[in-house]
Symmetry: C2
Subunit: 417 residues, 2 copies
């Protein structure tokens, strides 16, 4: 993979020019894209800024994020060839930092669940997950050092786990959503994919203009970590359970105190409410597409919106109240824990391309608005990941704990047998 | 003015056809538009639905709200001739109810403060206010029975007061913002203009699919109303003070208990924080326009964005914390008051077209996210209005109290001398 931090080091040392760094990405795309299929479109001869902290960094942009200089097609024939007028706010921010938004990445239609044709770089017969399929796959295949995704249920953390890359779904609205196609305004969250935790930490600190988010010099000590199984969401597969235990051992080996933690029933109930909030808003957000182009919608999304027509304002209000109550209770949980550790996905990436896998271990945290980080778990088989979660607004803490676990796992202190 | 409720009554009685109702709007536009200048563009031969609760209702749509069948130009040359792909969610909702989005209405560029060329229908030498200039003016001139505006500071309630029409800025996110150009995602709120309170109440109940918002059969009794001068925002002009006293007398004559209420300092401090939240987000929301088209920005907005470049994440976080604290304190205020009554604007619409007037009596309530209703105050001079405010989510209460005060004022029980 292309590490953003490594590239920046070589760039500042003068060992690599911004053009040269972009060329690395272009060469990797030329080599891997034919089999992976992560890109929708790209610049062949991009303008490369020579200044800025992200000069020379090629970025993959999920194709529901507006770009003024490349089409934005939402993974849907309804937007075939569509050219927005403006860049999304996050794309403008990337450019201001010197980065090159090089390519648009495949997405499930409107960031929902109908699979793309993108393949998992670690096993071409498997899904990379979704909905940010191309963004996760392209980073995993070493095509770009940074990619933008969005998560409404589990569309960042899940594909990151399936593809073996680091990712963060930051605190709700830490990164601006302006110019990104809405599915659910209470849930949609912009996220980042990178080779390792320090890569996404550095990128997030720059994009959010909050240097405090970047990793500290020293690993945090004495972390109190709650291990959460989310049994309300069903059981995970054995390989995911083993990965979670490996992460636990890695954290403990580095001095963390890890305790088993059951979540209050009100929080489990909020998990059940997530689809109501999501689909009641999606019905409004995609009202034009549904009214004017229902036949052109992908089948799973069409069925989802058909069912959503029956949702009521009362049901939506009750779901939001439940979420509000759960957020307050989660604050109490975080008064006794620095971070939570849980599954990123139920197990390996599903075989075939018929499903993007289940977001069931992700959606609660999206509804809570808290920062979530996927830590890849090294092992002999397909990629696996674990999820580190911190309190709302404490993205730096989530990343620091994730980096500690990543370090432990890489050193083999908790390695999967 | 065209009353939405009156039109619906005539339509259901069969005294008027949907086509006939739309023709009334078209005839009024032909008569008044040349001198008022409220429209950006319109349909000359619109498709008129024959079914739906809003069949026959012509709607004016602020020109930052996307329409698939008419240009959306944001009041800016940067978007000259721009055609969005989709309707905004609220426009889809209007169509689903049978309404006819007939015309796009003038707006200050990007819903900020640079004046439009629109004139106040009550005095062509004065501003109609802004930023929802065309929407307020068109309803006041009787061109349309319903118009959509948005408010980030005071862009719905202020022009409604200046133009002598009823309006509601509902609870934050009661109406969907999808497909509306963002200025500040924490503040931007979709609102409605109509001839009277019952017109905007009926429209909001339908658009939000919440029948409980519509006016009750019986006027509420024993209302506890807090009269708020917002002295932290400066003094109002004598005519506005007189209008507020008239509204107080009207409410008292109908059995309300009106008490003078000073707001806690933390709430006044939140008022001071509003511009920080707004401008920190506007800098991001309009980053593409600022980076790629700074010279084409209108001068006041350009200066505002220039200044906003100096804002910091720390300042923004502190402002949001202050707003959060104020929202909690405001809950306590509403445990002892059913509604608040205050100024809608500092006084009459300013003379000339160089300024859209001040939002200083509006911006606190936008930041608080609470429903605000402008009640026109009848009198011998230019239009004036007062503002009725209820707790978050209690839009029906705000409208019911507003309707009571409107009734008292119309009956002359508290009339302006």
């Amino acid at each position: 993979m292309l590490s953003l931090v490594d590239l920046r080091t070589r760039l500042s040392a003068g060992d690599l020019s911004p053009e040269g760094a972009i060329r690395l990405a272009q060469e990797a795309i030329a080599a891997r894209e034919p089999e992976v299929g992560a890109l929708v479109c790209r610049h062949d001869a991009p303008l490369v800024a020579t200044r800025g902290p992200l000069a020379g960094i090629a970025v993959g942009v999920k194709d529901i994020i507006d770009t003024a200089d490349l089409p934005t097609q939402m993974g849907s024939t309804i937007y075939a060839g569509w050219r927005p007028r403006a860049d999304a706010a996050i794309v403008s921010r990337l450019r201001a930092l010197g980065a090159v938004p090089l390519a648009k990445m495949t997405t499930c239609a409107f960031a929902s669940v109908d699979p793309t044709a993108t393949r998992n770089p670690h096993n071409l017969a498997r899904t990379p997950g979704g909905s940010s399929a191309g963004s996760a796959a392209a980073v995993a295949a070493g095509m770009v050092p940074l990619a933008l995704g969005t998560q409404t249920g589990g569309s960042v953390i899940r594909p990151a786990a399936f593809c073996g890359v680091a990712a963060i779904k930051p605190s709700f609205r830490l990164l601006p959503m302006v110019g990104i196609k809405t599915f659910s305004w209470a849930l949609d969250t912009l996220g980042l994919f990178g080779a390792g935790i320090r890569d996404v930490a550095g990128a997030l600190a720059l994009l959010a203009d909050r240097p405090g988010i970047d990793l500290p010099e020293e690993s945090p000590t004495g972390m109190r970590i709650g291990l959460v199984l989310q049994d309300f969401a069903g059981e995970a597969d054995p390989e995911a359970v083993e990965a979670l235990q490996a992460a636990r051992r890695a954290a403990e080996a580095l001095g963390a105190v890890v305790t088993d933690l059951g979540l209050p029933e009100a929080i489990a109930e909020a998990w059940r409410c997530h689809p109501i909030v999501q689909d009641y808003e999606a019905r409004q957000a995609l009202a034009w597409e549904y009214a004017a182009h229902r036949d052109a919608l992908t089948p799973l999304l069409r069925a989802q919106l058909d069912a959503a027509q029956g949702l009521t304002a009362e049901g939506y209000d009750a779901a939001r109240r439940q979420a509000h109550q759960a957020r307050r209770m989660l604050k109490d949980v975080f008064s006794e824990h620095d971070a939570l550790l849980t599954f990123s996905a139920p197990g390996y990436a599903p075989a075939g391309l018929a499903s993007t896998g289940s977001p069931r271990f992700n959606r609660l945290w999206t509804l809570m608005g808290v920062p979530c980080v996927n830590v890849p778990v090294p092992g002999p088989g397909l990629p696996l990941g674990v999820q580190v979660i911190a309190r709302f607004g404490d993205d730096g803490r989530a990343l620091a704990v994730a980096a500690m676990i990543e370090r432990g796992l890489r050193a083999g202190v908790g390695s999967v047998s």
